[in-house]
């Protein structure tokens, strides 16, 4: 019997199928992994951007609080420090570590509420605004579920300038993920993780360096805010165009008890002194190995020649303070008084002081007019500060050699005593103002004079004796586009506000006060001294607001290293 039933079936199909399925599964898994990494990188990029908006939100909150504390307002909330806390210590600045410190790397806790009307923090305290007041959440979403920020304000020491304390504002923003979010995984690209500060999220037990136990990228901004005094925008020398200093003089600022300059009263903080609106190619410092400006220069256009020169032996910088650009020069244009229709001798005049920023409306119900050649040798200033007397000179006003002109105060009592509160006068010269040769104008002590000049203005310290010794008592207001000339060997004490004038200061005499014009050439050996009392004084000036002095984004992370093992913190 033949029973041929040999079968040779080999079961390779199952193996092949399993292998195929395995390979396909691996391909799919790899694709999904890479895709999810890309998605994660995209989400974290967005989160990183959101954390910046959070950090900026904190900075804005601090600036608003500081500004409101400087200039209180009833609305929308009279308390600038609502929800702010104060901590009785300095802001800690240790090195970041795996155990971050509250107040520096982590959100501060504790402290007491800052009282309404409190000033900004002093050197032994810091303020902070908790994240509960600077957060927005959207919990039922994919990706980030909230943006939080917290911000601190401190003085980091005793550093300040004549305007007051400067403040360090450090704000940290964080875009937070859910605790079980798949996006807590960082990108597979180390470059992204290094930049966006996300690699630490998988370290320290899932904690972010700056965000405590919250997951998500953080960004910190450290801004330094400087106080800006109330008052006008004008500086010591404010020009819609340029300044040229070619002689041996210098420019500085001072604050003294009696308003008179001495090098002992020089402002050593080197404040911004010179503002040039459009330099073209004319602005310059001669760079002869001397200091020209004991302060800062701001300009628009071409940089003045030698602003940062450092010549001489030993080297001396021409400008000791900050040189910055652009300069925003916005000088109000003064105008003549206007006659009141139907009322002979009545005038109205509105004037804005560019240094104090105050605007005053004058109404003159009477005035005294003189012809160009009929001005007496002496007049009396007889008015209050808000209602000064008005004298009109119909034409040029010239005090030639050998002649004199005296402005006397109103007196009271016997023997007579000058009453400074009743010795204010405005003299409107409807032509040129000239003193020449040995001609002399004497402005007596106790008087306050404002000259409105419609033509060229030629004066000198030798021919204008301001016996008050303070610049605020002698003001020249130049109308139109003319020339200003100051020469001689005496010290001129006063201010010149002539935005359209081309100025020249020559000779060996100093100039104490301030100047605002179109351009100015200082060619002599005399120096220019800015009296800070003109803009509110330097000892305790009223702060109008705070401005940015520095801005830095802290993108550091102690875990960042490059491929060579170097820490990458910038």
């Amino acid at each position: 019997m033949k029973n041929d039933q040999t079968y040779n079936d080999k079961g390779s199909v199952l193996v092949i199928a399993l292998m195929t399925m395995t390979i396909l599964t691996m391909i799919c898994a790899t694709s999904l992994y890479i895709t999810s990494q890309n998605t994660g990188a995209g989400v974290q990029t967005a989160a990183w951007q959101q954390s910046l908006t959070g950090a900026e939100m904190g900075i804005d909150a601090a600036v608003r609080a500081l500004n409101q504390s400087a200039s209180p307002s009833a609305s929308p909330n009279p308390n600038p420090w609502t929800n702010w806390k104060t901590v009785n210590s300095t802001l800690p600045t240790p090195a970041p570590s795996s155990s971050p410190v509250l107040g520096y790397t982590y959100e501060p806790t504790g402290g007491n509420a800052v009282g309404s009307g409190s000033p900004p923090p002093d050197t032994s305290h810091y303020y902070y605004l908790p994240s509960a007041n600077l957060s927005i959440s959207y919990p039922n979403t994919e990706g980030t579920t909230a943006v939080n920020a917290w911000v601190t304000i401190d003085t980091w020491g005793t550093l300040s300038n004549s305007n007051g304390s400067w403040y360090r504002v450090r704000s940290t923003g964080q875009a937070a993920f859910q605790a079980n979010s798949v996006y807590k995984r960082v990108s597979s690209n180390r470059l992204d993780s290094d930049l966006r500060n996300t690699i630490a999220m998988n370290l320290y037990g899932g904690a972010n360096r700056k965000g405590g136990s919250s997951l998500g990228p953080t960004r910190t901004i450290e801004a330094i805010l400087q106080p800006v005094p109330k008052g006008g925008s004008a500086r010591a020398i404010t020009l819609s165009n340029w300044l040229a200093m070619t002689g041996g003089g210098s420019v500085d600022a001072f604050s003294s008890p009696n308003g008179q300059w001495s090098s002992a009263f020089r402002d050593a903080s080197n404040p911004m002194l010179v503002a040039e609106g459009a330099t073209g190619n004319q602005a310059k410092f001669a760079n002869t190995g001397q200091t020209y400006v004991y302060g800062g220069v701001t300009y628009s256009g071409n940089a003045p020649t030698n602003v940062n020169a450092n010549s001489g032996n030993p080297p001396v910088k021409d400008v000791l303070g900050q040189v910055s650009t652009p300069a925003v020069v916005s000088l109000p244009t003064p105008t003549d008084p206007t006659a009141v229709s139907g009322n002979s001798g009545h005038y109205n005049w509105t004037y804005q002081n560019p240094w104090s920023g105050t605007t005053t409306n004058y109404s003159f119900n009477s005035s005294t007019a003189y012809s160009s050649g009929g001005v007496p040798t002496a007049i009396t200033a007889n008015g209050t500060a808000s209602s000064p007397g008005l004298i009109i000179i119909n034409g040029d006003f010239t005090v030639p050699g050998g002649k004199s002109f005296t402005i006397n105060p109103t007196t009271t009592g016997s023997p007579p005593v000058a009453s400074s509160s009743n010795s204010n006068v405005i003299i409107w010269v409807q032509g040129k103002f000239t003193t020449s040769g040995s001609g002399m104008i004497t402005q007596s002590s106790g008087t306050s004079v404002t000259w409105i000049v419609d033509g060229d203005l030629t004066v000198s310290g030798s021919s204008y004796n301001n016996q008050n010794g303070t610049a605020a008592t002698d003001s020249f207001v130049g109308i139109g586009n003319n020339k200003f000339t100051d020469s001689g060997s005496g010290t001129f004490v006063g201010t010149v506000n002539a935005p359209g004038y081309a100025g020249t200061i020559s000779g060996s005499g100093d100039y104490t006060g301030a100047f605002a014009g179109s351009n100015l050439t200082i060619s002599g050996s005399g120096s220019f001294h800015y009296d800070e009392a003109l803009s509110g004084g330097s000892s305790n000036p009223a702060i109008g607001n705070y401005a940015y002095a520095s801005w830095f984004e802290d993108n550091s992370d102690p875990t960042h290293k490059d491929t060579k093992g170097n820490y990458v913190v910038y």
Partner: protein, 275 residues
């Protein structure tokens, strides 16, 4: 007794076999084609994602550093920063070279202590009306290196000694880098062009970029067959910027519907203005 067991062997006919083989081939071809298409699509998506990541990273880096840049000098020179020029850093000092690639050089505040490896922050100081951090200098330079875009960070102490000099390629596949429309005192405008990354065209040669001269096609003397050419911002005709050419048979021809990608940022120098 003879037991006769009739074994019946069944088989396909030739016609059936040919039909089944044909169907199988069609199915396999479809599967292979689908697989290839999926692979290409995946590769293209991956390339797009990678390129987008490069673009975002470059913009974020440049914008962040411009925002926090301050005034300083280019190491080894008296040239003030921000600075734009051609050359490179050698041992921490800038060496200008007219034939070099453009670099954007920024100075950063010395915010972190150079003596600590854990990013300890320096406290600010006020001097002459200027806020400064620490001593020494931190200089960041952005520059194209081949098809990489690099960020170089040079940290020096107050004596000028280089404490660290780290170059990190932060993006690949870069065609050109330009800093334009800037006065370096208020704003900095940067643009970075990336070569397109496509997979459905033939050729895998070298990427070139540069002036389209004349403004119709790149010079055929450049490169070899299989090379690509992207027109960068130096072209006299701005409408040609981004055009992509492929060299075949010794001549370049325009690749339709393909453009190089350019990303740009215009960043306000906050420290310059704040002061």
């Amino acid at each position: 007794m003879k037991i006769f067991t009739k074994t019946k062997y069944a088989a396909f006919t030739l016609t059936e076999l040919m039909v089944s083989v044909g169907c199988g081939v069609l199915i396999l071809a479809a599967v292979v084609a689908a697989g290839v298409s999926l692979q290409k699509s995946y590769a293209a998506t991956e390339a797009y994602s990678t390129t987008e990541g490069n673009e975002l990273r470059v913009l974020d880096y440049v914008a962040m550093d411009c925002r926090r840049a301050t005034s300083g000098t280019v190491p080894g020179t008296a040239t003030p920063t921000p600075y734009v020029g051609t050359g490179s850093f050698v041992s921490g000092s800038w060496v200008a070279a007219s034939s070099g690639t453009m670099a954007l050089i920024l100075s950063l505040p010395v915010y972190y202590s150079s003596t600590s490896s854990s990013a300890a922050p320096n406290t600010p100081t006020l001097s002459s009306g200027v806020i400064t951090y620490g001593s020494g200098s931190v200089t960041v330079s952005y520059q194209q290196s081949g098809t990489n875009f690099t960020r170089e960070v040079i940290v020096q102490n107050s004596g000028g000694t280089v404490l660290s000099d780290t170059i990190t390629p932060i993006a690949q596949n870069v065609a050109s880098f330009a800093v334009t429309d800037t006065d370096l005192t208020n704003w900095i405008s940067c643009s970075i062009m990336f070569f397109p990354t496509f997979t459905h065209n033939a050729g895998n040669g070298t990427w070139w970029s540069g002036l389209n001269n004349p403004d119709t096609a790149p010079a055929n003397s450049v490169g070899s067959n299989g090379d690509w050419y992207a027109i960068n911002g130096t072209a006299t005709d701005p409408t040609t910027v981004g055009n992509v050419y492929f060299k075949s048979g010794g001549t370049y021809s325009l690749v339709e519907n393909e453009k190089a990608t350019t990303v740009a940022c215009k960043t306000f120098l906050r420290n310059a203005s704040a002061r």
